[in-house]
């Protein structure tokens, strides 16, 4: 299972973390990968100063702006699924 976490701390909240969460939720449904991706909301990841909302994919950190969420998902998350298995089954 690929772990995809989105920060919903106050700074990221103001940057649109809920936008990002729901976009990811939709794309999970759209691409039918709910058995391969575990979507979580997490508390402050201490990257408040960075650009965009703080997102962690399989341990790697990214800064994703809401407008970029779709592109990010298609490139990185789907890409991670392609590459092979996630951390846990």
């Amino acid at each position: 299972m690929i772990e995809l976490s989105v920060c919903i701390g106050s700074a990221c909240h103001l940057k649109g973390s809920y936008n990002v969460v729901t976009t990811f939720q939709h794309l999970v449904e759209e691409y039918g990968v709910s058995d391969k991706v575990e979507l979580k909301m997490a508390f402050c990841m201490r990257r408040c100063a960075g650009t965009g909302v703080s997102v962690t994919l399989n341990g790697e950190s990214y800064g994703v702006k809401p407008e970029e969420a779709r592109a990010f998902f298609k490139a990185k998350v789907l890409g991670a699924i392609e590459e092979g298995n996630g951390y846990t089954e």
Binding site: H13, K15, Y18
Partner: protein, 563 residues
């Protein structure tokens, strides 16, 4: 240089009023009228508003423009006599069985007869009294025996709603309001918006009454009764139930519903939040791919009916999202599958068209409708009174979990421009508090029938139109058909949005603002302002909706639904 005229000996300043009637109201006199509505064209047929000038000549106040130096009286002996005779003539050809009438107590003919102390009718009953009712429509009931031919419904349906399902037929004393060729209303172009019922001064057109079946379900112990309450309802019960109009009475309404016997009470705004999320995704998807724009909202069933009848080619632009009422009902239905009892679901709506939306085939599951009955605000008020509940003594309560979480964005669906604002809150990247304030002033708020504005998104400008009233919608759609580009169009059939819906207690245009303000206030005092911040959403998508979003929350109108 201000101009003056004299009314009943009092000098009054003329300030651009269209007619003397409006000026007379300024002096604190309520001239009797049947056929005058400030938003409809002047008809001048009831002849109740005549005033007398100093030469003894009579003029109808509704159609006389004020002129400097005019000197009129509103209450001479002749005028009183004529008003009484006109009322007597109307009553002679009118069903006088007030005690069994749906509109008993809110009928203009009744109140004017009382006001002028009509103590007898010297003429035999006219033929109109024997006319049969037309109960074919799911939204309204038409009874010609109570019609005074004031023409308000005709002008509303033709001028404001551009539907034209009803008009005058025959001539003279045989005149009737009718559909073309007298077909039953359900077979006519009627879209069920109920605005005709809203402006009808008597009980000739009334909202369909579904109270009896709801009582039956409430009394049935084998059935679990649940109810959802639409946003616009909570700010419209005040006037009738003894608190201020525009005041948010949701807490008391919930308390009343529980007392009446409902097992679970929910808020349609929850469904509205889901609608925002789904519709935004749809919107962004279309924007990205540049296809099927403009996106046209789909939560108003009268608009869907209008689109199917007049613009079937635009159905592909309509959002595939279900309305908030249907989305919430879908969820509740799913959840109730775990229960041992069958769920009877009721929706309290400001809307008459919801009655036939609930009956549409698309919203049935195994042949059973998701929403069993729709009650309008007027029917809810009636049920509360019937129960004997003293409304303003109720202690407010809250909706049931797990669907008890709503955002302010969901609540403002009841106003024109509300859906658009809710969607925009999700779309724009500025999620700060100031962002909300500037979003409020983009141009979607306010009572104007057509509002156009642009919103920056990324590197483009989104062109948005918010319309209420179907004639206004028609003018914008005409421009779309001529090639003008819009990204999003919000269409509400009722002018002003759902707060002025056909099922709401009627208030004239000038007093509608209080209701809209009530909803915007409710939004302001919510902790959660945006649909995506509603924590319930996340758990829903991870739970019931997983893998079933399309099945439960979307609908395909292009297949040609049932009226």
């Amino acid at each position: 240089m201000s101009e003056y005229m004299t009314i009943d000996g009092i000098p009054v300043e003329i300030n651009g009023e269209k007619n003397v009637l409006e000026l007379i109201r300024k002096v604190g006199i309520e001239l009797p009228t049947f056929c005058y509505h400030s938003e409809l064209s002047i008809y001048g047929a009831c002849r109740m508003c005549m005033v007398e000038n100093e030469r003894g000549g009579l003029e109808a106040a509704c159609s006389t423009p004020p002129r400097a130096g005019m000197n009129i009286r509103t209450n001479t002996e002749r005028l009183r006599r004529y008003r009484k005779t006109i009322l007597e003539l109307l009553l002679a050809n009118h069903c006088r069985d007030c005690t069994t009438c749906e509109n008993n107590g809110s009928c203009k003919l009744q109140s004017l007869a009382r006001r002028f102390h009509i103590d007898g009718v010297r003429f035999p009953d006219g033929e109109r009294i024997k006319h049969a009712k037309d109960e074919s429509s799911l939204s309204i009931t038409c009874d010609a025996s109570k019609c005074i031919l004031c023409g308000d419904c005709v002008r509303m349906c033709n001028e404001i709603q551009n539907v034209g399902a009803i008009d005058f037929a025959h001539r003279g004393s045989k005149m009737l309001i009718s559909t073309a060729f007298g077909v039953p209303m359900a077979e006519s172009p009627c879209v069920g918006c109920g605005q005709c019922a809203a402006v009808c001064p008597t009980g000739a057109i009334v909202v369909k009454n579904n109270i009896a079946e709801v009582w039956k379900a409430l009394d049935d112990p084998t059935v679990k009764t649940t109810v959802q309450i639409a946003p616009a309802v909570r700010v419209a019960v005040g006037k009738e139930l003894g608190i201020g109009d525009g005041e948010n009475a949701l807490g008391k309404i919930i308390a009343a519903l529980r007392r009446m016997g409902f097992d679970e009470v929910y808020d349609t705004s929850t469904g509205a939040d889901l609608t925002v999320l789904e519709e935004t995704e749809e919107f962004l998807h279309r924007i990205e791919n540049g296809e099927k724009l403009p996106l046209i909202t789909s939560c108003c069933p009268a608009w869907i009916n209008y689109c199917e009848k007049k613009h079937p080619d635009l159905l592909k632009n309509v959002s595939t999202c279900r309305s908030p009422m249907q989305m919430l009902a879908s969820l509740l239905r799913e959840q109730s599958k775990l229960s041992s009892r069958r769920m009877y679901h009721v929706a309290v709506m400001p809307c008459t068209a919801k009655k036939f939306e609930a009956a549409r085939d698309e919203f049935k599951n195994d042949g059973m409708p998701n929403v069993d009955a729709v009650l309008t605000t007027q029917e809810l008020i009636r049920m509360i009174r019937e129960s004997g509940i003293v409304f303003n003594e109720l202690e407010p309560e809250a909706v049931d979990m797990p669907f008890g979480s709503v955002s302010g964005a969901g609540i403002i669906f009841g106003v024109t421009g509300g859906v658009t604002e809710a969607v925009l809150r999700r779309v724009v990247s500025d999620k700060s508090r100031t962002g909300l304030l500037s979003l409020a002033r983009m141009g979607q708020r306010g009572s104007s029938g057509v509002k156009e504005f642009t919103v920056p998104y990324g590197d483009r400008e989104l062109k948005i139109a918010v319309v209420s009233g179907l004639a206004n919608a028609e003018s914008v759609l005409k421009r779309v058909n001529n090639g003008e580009h819009f990204d999003l169009i919000e269409v509400m059939a009722c002018p002003g949005g759902c707060v002025a819906g056909g099922g709401q207690p009627f208030v004239p245009v000038e007093r509608r603002a209080k209701r809209s303000e009530g909803l915007y206030t409710a939004d302001r005092v919510s902790s959660i302002r945006r649909s995506e911040e509603n924590p319930l959403m996340f758990s829903l998508y991870n739970g019931i909706l997983k893998g079933r979003v399309h099945e439960l929350l979307h609908v395909d109108y292009c297949k040609g639904g049932e009226n």
